[in-house]
Each structure stands twice: as structure tokens, then as C-alpha cells.
């Protein structure tokens, strides 16, 4: 029996204002076998979440379809575990006025508890104020006895590796849990209901690599132990290929390819066009096929076999260290929150003019706290912080910091204060008392830099997420700060969007801006950043170039950073051939390969 069977599914979201939305799904066909770990990937807005909601029955059964015009919004069938979730009877429900059929959506509806679905944002699906009641909520709806609820909650927490929290479950508030823990609680709250299919919709996009691994391993263990069918939407090729039996590529509302991980990720011709994340080693081999005997590796070990050893070693050189003036100097900084949590325990940081620095570390290591001190949002507790030579302990200096240090927050929704793109960029300038032509020139320049000038009269709310993020950068850029801090700009976005935002930052850097970026994306660090500072448990544990960071096994092991494939491959080759260069990223590999290839071919 198939776990999920989707036939020719079309779906269009109801529009609340103005014209019709385009079809979000345009003829999806998909089969998922029982007991399978099935991956779904694809660019942002391709329809991945929509497919998951249709599997669960949330679409169309949890949506109010305007004027009963079912045919206008949905077509096709969805079945789960042999039962019909949704089936559209296109001829039913005649329009009382026109007489033509409006259609009717039949089927079982929301498939709880047999199908469970964990959503992207752990915060939004935590519905109760204690861990205990969060996990028990579904069981209470099933109207089980107190003893059974108790037993199942304890069992489910154990299954997601949170058994040690059971005695405290009643007293743990969502804010007492880390992002990874919250997401595992969300999984537990469905497991307790003993589902046969568990859908995970980008469950790890807000998590650091450690949290990501926790969640994926939990899902995989459950699948093996309890014969659960797991369907996981994910961007990270690493997670998908490690855990999935098969992967589907969703693009523009259709399933374009379904294959086993090896076949899937070596099909670079298809993947490159969709703009999703692919493996670095696959990209190298795809762009230099003549040097890799046409094979597309997807793992470091395969790449070591495939990649040639005769490369131009001269490309592996770091840009000369910046000798610009020191803009930020942090020494032995401590910070304590009101509730007593000590977030910084002796952090150090130096930022020179013209730097492009990555501030790295796992969730809770103190990166964001440090950045907020630099922006004047937090007052240092102990230690010294000098920005442009001034000690920021004084409230007078701190209050003026936004002029010099711009801070782009992680979620663009948190920083859109007006209803027009132009006004949004002007807002910060008005706060700086800039008016008239000077204001206009600054706004236009900033909007041009982020390529949003043609949208200047639009409402920021209706821009796509990528555009809103660019607008957030423009709003800070217009204030012309000496330093721009960008906090995790890549969360939950596809490769194309990430590349676009990071290339914007690189352009700004090339135009002389000093940039500090907080990120979990190590490939981005290797590709773009010139310096890194790594934090662990509130302390700075490493400062140096990305190349020296990823070559430093001790630091990598202690901070659990993921080493990008490109540099991991060169490190692996160096084990057998110590004079092989330490090639940092895809571009260096390509340059090294072509440098050697050309003389060989002539």
C-alpha cells in the first residue's frame, strides 16, 4: 500500500484582496511508499509546503473557499494510507445563479492522528504554556484517559530524546527550551498520537547544524524503530542525502524529478536551473567535467576519488590581511541579561575598515548578544568596547551608535515600519534629521544599490521575502553607517535567494563598506567572507581567515561547525598528498583545476 498518493493535484490559494492568485500547484503527481524516508526539496515558493498541507488534508479542508467555488481552487485527488483525503467532484454543487457546477471537495479531511505535520517555525506551533500540555494536547482531543495520556507523553518525550525533561514537563515554558528542543517537542506531540505518517516541513531552518542533526537523527531513528513513514521538506542537501531513501524536486508547482539521493544530486543539469542547494563537490565537477572524467560526486569521499591531483596550487592564497583603521575593538566583554543569564563571558573582537567578517558559533553562543552590544542596544556589563575609538560605556556614545553601526535584523517583518518602500528607507534618515534633496538622494541611492528602485511606491508587506530582506538592508544602508551588521540573512531561503543577498553584501563591501555577518551557512563563509571570529559559550575561541578556521581541526571539533565540502575535500586529499593546496571554495577549486588544465591541453 502506498503511504501517500497524489494524482494531478492543482491548488490555488484564495486571494483576500484584488485579483486571483496564480495556481500554487499545477498538476502534482507523487507516490510515497509506506516506511519510506522521503525528501522534498525545491526553490522557495515552489509549492513544497502546499503539497504537505494537501497530504495532511489541511488543504482544502482547513481553508474557507470563497463563494464555494471549489473548481476554481482545487482539482485532483489525494489519498493517504489507502483512504481518500481529498477528492474533487467537479460536477457537484450547481451555482444557483449561473447553473454551472462549482464543484465539491470530498474525502476524510484533516488526517489527524494518522498523519502528523511539524511546521517550520517552532515558536508558532507551540500552542500551550508548558511542555507537558503541549504534548498532551492532541491526546486530549482524542479523548484518552488520564493514565494513557500520561504514559504516551512520557513515551513520546523519550522517543525524541527528551525523556530527562519528563519530571519537569509541567513546569517548562516554551521560552525555557532551545530551538532544537522546541522542534523535537513538536515532533513528540505528534508521535504521542501514534501517527503512521509524519511530515516535517523544513523543521531545521531556524536551527544551527547541531540542532539540525538532532532533529534529523530523531526522525530517522523513529522511522527505523516504529516503521513510520517520514516525509521531510528540506533545503540542505547534506541532511536530505544522509537520511532520505528518495528525494522529490518540486519546482513551479510540479514534481519535476523523484530519485534516490545519489542519482538526484548528480543530476546537475536539472538542479542548477532550479536554483536549489546542491553539493559543492557536484558543482565543481559539473563546471569542470573534463577534469573529473564526467562523474558527479556528491560526498567528500567520492570527490577524493574523482578529483585530479594536478592542480594550480597558487590560487590557494588568502587576501592580504586588512591594515585599515580599527573600527571596533572589543576586549573581554561580559554581558548579563535581566533574568541573570550571562550571555557573554569574555568575548573579544576586532574589526578593521574594509573587513568582511563572519561571526560564527552555535545557537546560544552569544553572537547576537555581541552584535547588539556593538549597535548600542545592550549596555556592556564588564570589559571594554571601543567603536571608532570611543568607549561605549557612556550612554551618550551608545545612543548615537546607530549612526555608525547599522544592524539588519534577522526577520524583515520586524523592521518594516511604514507602508511604502520609499518611506521605509527614508524613516531612518528622518530620524537623523536629514530632509529635502539630501534625503531623496540617499533614498534613491540605497534603493538602487539593492535593485528595488522600481518598487519604491509599493507596500513592503506585499514584497517577497527576498525583496523585503533587501529593503531591510537598504534602510540601514541609506543611513550610511561605517559598519553594517547583518544577522542571519539566509535562514529558510533557497540557494538563489541566499546568493543574491550575499552578493549584494559583497558589492557593498567592494564599494568600501565594512561588513559583519552572523550566519550558520559555512559555505557562504568560505565563499565570501575574508575574516572569521568564532564564539563558543559566550567566549571568542578563534579569530582568523576562513581557510585557517576550517583547517583547524581542534576549533572545528570544539565548536561543531560544519566544514564546507570544498575545503574538506582538499583536506582529505592532503592526508595522502601533503603538498596539495588547501582549496577553500568552489571558485578556488575551479581556478585551480583550470590553471593546471590549460597547459596540459596545449
Amino acid at each position: 500500500m502506498e503511504a501517500i498518493e497524489i494524482r494531478d493535484l492543482f491548488w490555488r490559494y484564495p486571494a483576500f484582496v484584488g485579483s486571483d492568485n496564480p495556481w500554487a500547484l499545477r498538476g502534482v503527481n507523487l507516490n510515497v511508499k509506506q516506511g519510506e524516508f522521503f525528501g522534498i526539496t525545491g526553490p522557495s515558493g515552489a509549492g513544497k509546503t502546499t503539497i504537505c498541507k494537501a497530504m495532511l488534508g489541511l488543504l482544502p479542508h482547513g481553508v474557507k473557499i470563497p463563494f464555494g467555488r471549489v473548481n476554481h481552487h482545487i482539482r485532483g485527488t489525494v489519498s493517504a494510507l489507502g483512504e481518500t483525503v481529498t477528492e474533487v467532484d467537479t460536477l457537484a454543487n450547481k451555482d444557483p445563479q449561473g447553473g454551472e457546477p462549482l464543484g465539491e471537495a470530498n474525502g476524510l479531511g484533516v488526517m489527524s492522528p494518522r498523519v502528523g505535520m511539524v511546521f517550520q517555525d517552532p515558536e508558532n506551533q507551540f500552542l500551550k504554556m508548558s511542555l507537558l500540555h503541549e504534548v498532551s494536547f492532541g491526546l486530549q482531543i482524542l479523548d484518552l484517559s488520564t493514565e494513557e495520556i500520561e504514559q504516551r507523553v512520557e513515551e513520546a518525550l523519550g522517543m525524541v530524546g527528551l525523556g530527562h525533561l519528563w519530571p519537569l514537563a509541567e513546569y517548562l515554558h516554551p521560552t525555557d527550551l532551545s530551538g532544537g528542543q522546541k522542534q523535537r517537542v513538536a515532533i513528540a506531540s505528534f508521535l504521542a498520537m501514534r501517527p503512521e505518517i509524519l511530515i516535517l516541513d523544513e523543521p531545521t531552518s531556524d536551527l544551527d547544524p547541531q540542532g539540525k542533526l538532532e532533529v534529523c537523527e530523531t526522525a530517522s531513528r523513529l522511522k527505523n524503530m516504529h516503521d513510520l513513514t517520514v516525509i521531510m521538506v528540506e533545503q540542505d542537501p547534506d541532511a536530505l542525502s544522509t537520511f532520505c531513501d528518495r528525494i522529490a524536486l518540486v519546482n513551479e508547482g510540479r514534481v519535476e524529478m523523484v530519485a534516490e539521493p545519489n542519482t538526484f544530486y548528480s543530476n546537475m543539469d536539472v538542479l542548477e536551473n532550479t536554483g536549489i542547494y546542491t553539493f559543492e563537490v557536484s558543482r565543481i565537477a559539473h563546471k569542470a567535467p573534463e577534469r573529473c572524467s564526467g562523474r558527479i560526486p556528491i560526498s567528500v569521499s567520492e570527490a577524493v576519488e574523482v578529483f585530479p591531483r594536478d592542480v594550480d596550487a597558487s590560487v590557494a592564497a588568502d587576501a592580504p590581511t586588512s591594515d585599515g583603521k580599527v573600527l571596533i575593538e572589543v576586549e573581554d566583554l561580559w554581558y548579563r541579561y535581566d533574568d541573570g543569564t550571562i550571555a557573554l563571558k569574555g568575548a573579544d573582537l576586532t574589526l578593521h575598515q574594509g573587513d568582511f567578517l563572519a561571526l560564527l558559533g552555535n545557537n546560544g553562543s552569544g553572537k547576537t548578544t555581541l552584535a547588539k552590544v556593538l549597535n548600542g542596544l545592550h549596555r556592556p556589563w564588564k570589559g571594554t568596547v571601543r567603536i571608532l575609538g570611543e568607549d561605549i560605556t557612556s550612554p551618550r556614545v551608545r545612543s548615537q551608535l546607530p549612526r555608525h553601526v547599522g544592524y539588519v535584523f534577522q526577520n524583515p517583518d520586524h523592521q518594516m515600519f511604514t507602508r511604502r518602500v520609499y518611506d521605509e528607507v527614508a524613516y531612518g534618515l528622518q530620524n537623523m534629521d536629514i530632509r529635502g534633496d539630501e534625503l531623496d538622494a540617499a533614498v534613491v541611492e540605497a534603493l538602487e544599490a539593492v535593485d528595488l528602485l522600481d518598487k519604491k511606491d509599493e507596500d513592503p508587506l506585499f514584497l517577497g521575502k527576498g525583496q523585503r530582506q533587501r529593503l531591510a538592508v537598504a534602510s540601514i544602508l541609506a543611513m550610511r553607517p561605517e559598519i553594517i551588521i547583518v544577522d542571519e540573512p539566509t535562514t529558510g531561503q533557497d540557494f538563489r535567494m541566499v546568493t543574491s543577498i550575499v552578493e549584494l553584501l559583497r558589492d557593498l563591501h567592494l564599494h568600501g563598506r565594512t561588513i559583519l555577518i552572523i550566519t550558520h551557512d559555512m559555505t557562504l563563509v568560505a565563499d565570501y567572507c575574508l575574516q572569521t571570529t568564532v564564539m563558543l559559550d559566550g567566549k571568542t575561541v578563534f579569530t582568523g581567515s576562513p581557510r585557517s578556521l576550517f583547517s583547524n581541526e581542534e576549533v572545528v571539533a570544539a565548536t561543531r561547525l560544519r566544514v564546507p565540502q570544498a575545503i574538506a575535500t582538499s583536506a582529505a586529499i592532503r592526508q595522502e598528498q601533503p603538498d596539495f593546496p588547501v582549496l577553500l571554495n568552489v571558485n578556488e577549486w575551479l581556478a585551480a583545476l583550470s590553471g593546471q588544465a590549460e597547459p596540459a591541453s596545449t
Binding site: 498541507k53 495532511l56 489541511l58 482547513g62 484533516v110 489527524s112 492522528p113 502528523g116 505535520m117 511546521f119 517555525d121 508558532n124 506551533q125 507551540f126 500552542l127 500551550k128 504554556m129 508548558s130 507537558l132 500540555h133 498532551s136 492532541g138 491526546l139 486530549q140 482531543i141 482524542l142 479523548d143 488520564t146 495520556i149 500520561e150 530527562h164 519530571p167 519537569l168 509541567e170 513546569y171 517548562l172 515554558h173 516554551p174 521560552t175 525555557d176 498520537m193 547588539k372 542596544l377 545612543s399 548615537q400 546607530p402 549612526r403 535584523f409 526577520n411 517583518d413 520586524h414 523592521q415 518594516m416 515600519f417 507602508r419 531612518g428 530620524n431 537623523m432 540601514i476 543611513m479
Partner: protein, 360 residues
């Protein structure tokens, strides 16, 4: 036994649990009281306190006793540290102001007056004087020069007082209008007693309200609603609302920081400017809450809550009324009746005369 011992030992790491306001000790006696007991207690105690603070028949000892008891209750709840850290800074100046106001401006002087200083004779004089001119123009001039007002006002007041006391204050009276009644600063026996009673009374009210919010968890409120047999939809919406509120508070914090990062505090703003800035926060706050609400709705349905008529089982939400709850509720009712109907007054009952206290 074994399992409860492990539970207790594992709980050692977590001694406090989050409440509406801050956190409290997990197993404090107040944490175990039923929320209805606390609510009834606060309502009835407020009635009692208002009566005990009556100006004609104040009960300073009674209010003092209740103030001490309420502080003891906060101590029991393990919340006193948070209270000290955050609220006492506000409460003590507030109560001191209250004390001084009742002491000085009480129109009923009582029997023994220690100090009587007339400050206003009951007529408003419309006219011009040198000190008035100084009082107005010095701050304006200072502001024009420095864009700062505080020291200008201080200087204006000092100069005006100085001119007045030196007798260098020529004045031109245009009219005299009778307005309000004459005001005097009076320190008397009765004023002292009333002021003390008011301070103890209001302090107790503040403390007992804090007891409620600092030792009650949202889960208890939901439990009480279910116990009162309100429809599940009501308690469910209350719980979702409380949860959304706590998310909104977090969002508000981030949004406010984002606003500061956009330079909102770079220059001094008028009160209207500040209100406008605060109003601007509503745009991102509403957008964030709307985006969240769609996801929350989906998450609710995914758990199987697809109809509002669903009647889920209760699970460790409802807590029974214990013996101590009943005793406390009865005590509060008895106390209210004693005060309202039988004019119970601890000070009088102990036979202490107001005048005696002050003379000793």
C-alpha cells in the same frame, strides 16, 4: 516512592517556574493554592482594606498586620527577590509620596496640631511681579542658548525665591479672584495616623495584587475555566490568546530594538514624537502577528482540533479545591463580614487610642 524520589532529585535543577509575572518557587504554598482562592482573597481583602482606611475610623494596626502578612506571603512564594529587583524601587517612593501627601494636605486636622503652615489663602492674584518674570524668562532664555530646559527651570525657581525672600519683588496686582479653599501644611496626630493607615493599606493592595500575578500560571487559569464548566472554546481561546500574548511580547522587544537601530532615539523628541514612534511599532507588530496567526491556526488543526465543538479530555489542568482553599475562602468571607457589618477595627479592639500612640 522510587519514582517520586527521582522526580524530586531531577527537579532540583529547576526550582522556579514561569508565572504571569516573573517566576515563583515550584512547590511554594502559594503555588499550591487554587487560583479562585487567590482571586476571592484579593477581591475581599480590597473591600476590607478600603473600609479599614476610612478617614473617620482608621485602623493603622489592622492595615499594618495585613501589610506584614502580604509580604510574608510573597516571601513564601519565593518571589520577593524579583519584587525587590524590579518593583520596590517604584513602590517605596510611591508610598512615601502618598504618606507625605496625606500628612500635609489632610483638611481634617484632628485634635493635636504639631505644625500649621498656610500656603494658599484661597484667592488667586492676577498680576505681574519681578519674580514671576524671572521664573518664566530664565528657563526660556536658557533653552534658547543650550537646547536644554532642566537647569533653566531650576535657576528660574532659585532666582524667584531669592528675589522674594530679599524683598526685591515689586509687583503689580491687576485682580484678585477667590478660588478653591485655603490650603495649609498641617502635621497633626490624626493626619499621622491616617497617613500611616493609607500607606499600609495601599501597600497591602499592591502586594496582594502582585501575589496573584507573580504566583499564578496561565495553565491554572485555563484549568479554573474548565472547572467552572465554561465551554471548551472559551478556555481554548483564552489559552491561545495568552500564548500569543507571550509571543507578541517577544516580538515587541525585537521590533523596538529594530526601531532603535533605525535611529529612533538619535535625537531628543517631544512627547508627541515619542507617541508617534510608539504608534509606528504597530505596523510590524500587526504584520508579524498576522503571519503567525495563520501558522498557529494550521498547527491547531494539524493536532486534530478541527471543530470548535470538540470536547477534549482534561489532563492535569484542573486542580481540586483543597481543605486549605476552603478554609481560606471562609476566612476571607468572615473577615469581610466582620469589617463591613460589625465595624471590626483591630486598633480599637486592642484599646489603643490614637492620641496615646503619639504622646508616648
Amino acid at each position: 516512592m522510587a519514582s517520586s524520589a527521582t522526580a524530586a532529585s531531577q527537579r532540583e535543577g529547576k526550582k522556579y517556574v514561569r508565572t504571569f509575572l516573573f517566576s515563583m518557587k515550584i512547590d511554594s504554598p502559594l503555588a499550591r493554592l487554587h487560583v479562585v482562592t487567590k482571586l476571592v482573597g484579593i477581591l475581599l481583602m480590597s473591600v476590607v482594606l478600603v473600609r479599614l482606611m476610612d478617614m473617620n475610623n482608621p485602623d493603622p494596626l489592622g492595615t499594618l498586620l495585613f501589610a506584614v502578612l502580604s509580604v510574608a506571603a510573597l516571601l513564601l512564594g519565593g518571589v520577593i527577590a524579583w519584587l525587590f529587583r524590579s518593583y520596590l524601587v517604584v513602590i517605596f517612593p510611591m508610598l512615601t509620596t502618598l504618606f507625605v501627601t496625606w500628612l500635609l494636605f489632610n483638611p481634617d486636622p484632628g485634635t493635636r496640631v504639631f505644625l500649621n503652615l498656610p500656603v494658599y489663602d484661597g484667592t488667586l492674584t492676577l498680576g505681574l511681579s519681578l519674580s514671576l518674570t524671572v521664573l518664566i524668562f530664565v528657563p526660556i532664555a536658557y533653552f534658547q542658548l543650550t537646547r536644554n530646559i532642566f537647569y533653566g527651570v531650576i535657576a528660574g525657581i532659585v532666582l524667584a525665591v531669592l528675589l522674594n525672600s530679599l524683598g526685591l519683588n515689586p509687583r503689580l496686582t491687576l485682580a484678585e479672584v477667590s478660588f478653591f479653599h485655603p490650603l495649609s501644611l498641617i502635621v497633626s496626630d490624626k493626619n499621622l495616623v491616617v497617613a500611616a493607615t493609607k500607606v499600609f493599606g495601599y501597600a497591602t493592595m499592591v502586594f496582594i495584587s502582585l501575589i496573584l500575578v507573580m504566583t499564578t500560571r496561565d495553565a491554572e487559569v485555563i484549568g479554573a475555566l474548565r472547572q467552572a464548566k465554561t465551554p471548551y472554546a472559551v478556555s481554548f481561546f483564552t489559552s491561545i490568546m495568552l500564548r500569543s500574548l507571550s509571543m507578541a511580547v517577544l516580538d515587541y522587544g525585537t521590533i523596538r530594538q529594530a526601531q532603535v537601530a533605525r535611529g529612533v532615539s538619535l535625537k531628543r523628541k517631544s512627547i508627541f514624537g515619542k507617541i508617534l514612534d510608539l504608534a509606528r511599532i504597530s505596523v510590524p507588530l500587526i504584520v508579524t502577528m498576522l503571519r503567525r496567526s495563520t501558522e498557529v491556526g494550521d498547527a491547531v488543526m494539524a493536532r486534530g482540533m478541527t471543530q470548535l465543538s470538540t470536547k477534549p479530555a482534561t489532563f492535569r489542568e484542573v486542580r481540586p479545591y483543597r481543605f486549605v482553599d476552603i478554609v481560606l475562602i471562609l476566612f476571607f468571607i468572615a473577615l469581610t463580614l466582620a469589617v463591613l457589618l460589625f465595624h471590626f477595627n483591630l486598633t480599637q479592639m486592642l484599646g489603643i487610642e490614637i492620641g496615646d500612640i503619639l504622646l508616648q
